[in-house]
Point group: none
Chain length 97, copies 2
Amino acid sequence: MGRLEIRPEEHAALVDGRPLSLTVRELQLLVSLAAHPQRIMTREELFAAVWGGEPRDDDRSVDVYVSRLRAKLGEALPERRLIHTHNGIGYRFSPDG
Amino acid sequence: MGRLEIRPEEHAALVDGRPLSLTVRELQLLVSLAAHPQRIMTREELFAAVWGGEPRDDDRSVDVYVSRLRAKLGEALPERRLIHTHNGIGYRFSPDG
DNA sequence: CAGGTCGTGAAAATCCTGTGAACAGCAGGC
DNA sequence: GCCTGCTGTTCACAGGATTTTCACGACCTG
């Protein structure tokens, strides 16, 4: 999928062949998002996939990690916006900006 | 691969032709790491390769030996950092610093 | 504009690593 | 046998990195 490669088995995500230095949670989140391109994923789905179980009502973990992921992706791929917010619902991963 | 040569059959590792004095375990670990350059290897993989079987949950053998290996490599090759830590996962061997 | 939702820096809590040191086992030399 | 030096194993602590939580301001929607 273009310049971003994700290899969950190797615990790695590459941009143009160079590895992003993601933490475990960041990578899990990226994997979960990228597993369903163009599909809007709710916070509950993402939380279940990365953290397991259900989030507290006021849990913001997903948001915080989306923010961190965007920061690191934005550094490596400034021209694209891969993760889109869907207000009131969740997030969507779009391989092509 | 540059100035470091590893000869598993001869139980030896050389830097600029001069042998490092590694113990058996240290050499095994170096061989295991260097067998997969740039690939992140989990503690489980490394433990299985060097010690065999699975590590106890709180086993730190791999860490201790990585530390010793780094010390000896660092003495012989001060300018490079060959073994990189990947927090929460394991270690990665990178021939070029 | 009001009310809910999001983005994000930063503090707090937790988890993970680096490494010195203590200890046991082993081989060789005397 | 006894001592010595070396290796491997384990523990403990300090420091570092990550994760979690909080707070405040911006943003969006009706």
